[in-house]
Symmetry: C2
Subunit: 212 residues, 2 copies
């Protein structure tokens, strides 16, 4: 059975799922969503995901949304990337939640406001505020990665790494520069060196077309 | 063994843990953190939680942070509130993640900015932006609760309910009025009717003292 992943290139949450599927060696294919043309808000897409969001994972009768649920499902199904002990599994969940709460939730919105809104519609006070929060999250991540190879602390990478890293591989500026964060930079290099790793724009087609 | 919960009344994330411990019938006690006086940033507290956040759950040798991890641990330990089937457990995780990503992360910051910052330091553009995002999250929650009693869809309440509801019981204004949301209002009443339910300020002492 081939897994269908509803996604588009710019979606960092989609990349978490696409990367985990790829590294787990699962047969999957892109179901491209023309997000910036409004496809995620159409009635057809809402029948797949009422929240109008990507990614959506479809495997036969099973439809999953929320990237963390998809990652947890892949880890359980394959026995890979989910942590080996109870303590590691708790750490994996802790960092998945932290990513959703402190990292991707801030950085995803920030990158959107700074790159995918028309220049005269970018709310500068909001951008400055979110940059402050993003910087605090990056400082936490960098500090933790000073102490260990992988964020959840085990011998190998887990879905917590694939969740936390996703937005940090994108080229669009949002106030993150790898050169500023020694330990994050080392960790991203370790992820890039994993067998089968691909950049988000090599896994999923881009949906954004700049307008004048 | 008595569980120690490092917490303070205004912390919606702490309330998730305090409420779940209470409803699960676990013997626990408040370890009060004088948050607004900066106690969470002291070296002593950082040895308990390097991230400087509440809640922290301590049961003998086991220390847990991130409210979702604490809730998941309580559900596993007691066999209560975690969902009965694989599908329910995935739904519980989905709503825990959604809460961290879309609900508490926005509403918690918004309530802080609107109530616990000095009036002349409240960033109005940021507040308006976060209110828009909070309203979108509330609309999703209200729409989903129109279809079922509990958010994860099973026969009884789960930790997903206790996570998503937490900030909605607080009296401080942040743009949420129960009267505006029929299904959320019904659901909050159902939670209040659970045996042992208590308001956040009846479970944990308040830390905020307004200054002129």
């Amino acid at each position: 059975m081939t897994v269908d992943l509803y996604c588009f290139g710019e979606s960092g949450h989609s990349y978490k799922a696409a990367l985990t599927l790829t590294l787990a060696g699962i047969d999957w294919r892109v179901r491209y969503v023309d997000f910036f043309a409004g496809e995620a808000r159409t009635p057809e897409f809402r029948t797949i995901n009422p929240m109008g969001e990507c990614p959506v994972y479809v495997d036969g009768d099973l439809t999953l949304t929320q990237s963390g649920v998809i990652l947890d499902h892949i880890a359980r199904q394959t026995g890979s990337f989910g942590g080996e002990t109870d303590e590691e599994r708790r750490e994996v969940l802790r960092w998945l939640l932290w990513d959703n709460h402190k990292m991707s939730s801030q950085v995803g919105v920030l990158r959107f406001l700074m790159n995918f809104l028309p220049e005269d519609k970018r709310p500068q006070e909001v951008i400055a505020f979110l940059q402050g929060r993003a910087k605090a999250a990056l400082a936490v991540l960098d500090g933790e990665l000073a102490n260990r190879t992988w964020i959840a602390g085990g011998a190998g990478p887990t879905i917590a790494d694939f969740s936390c890293c996703s937005y940090l591989f994108y080229p669009e500026p949002f106030g993150f520069d790898r050169g500023d964060w020694t330990h994050i930079d080392r960790w991203l290099s370790d992820i890039e060196a994993l067998d089968g790793w691909k950049h988000p724009y090599d896994l999923m087609p881009r949906a954004y077309r700049a307008t004048a």
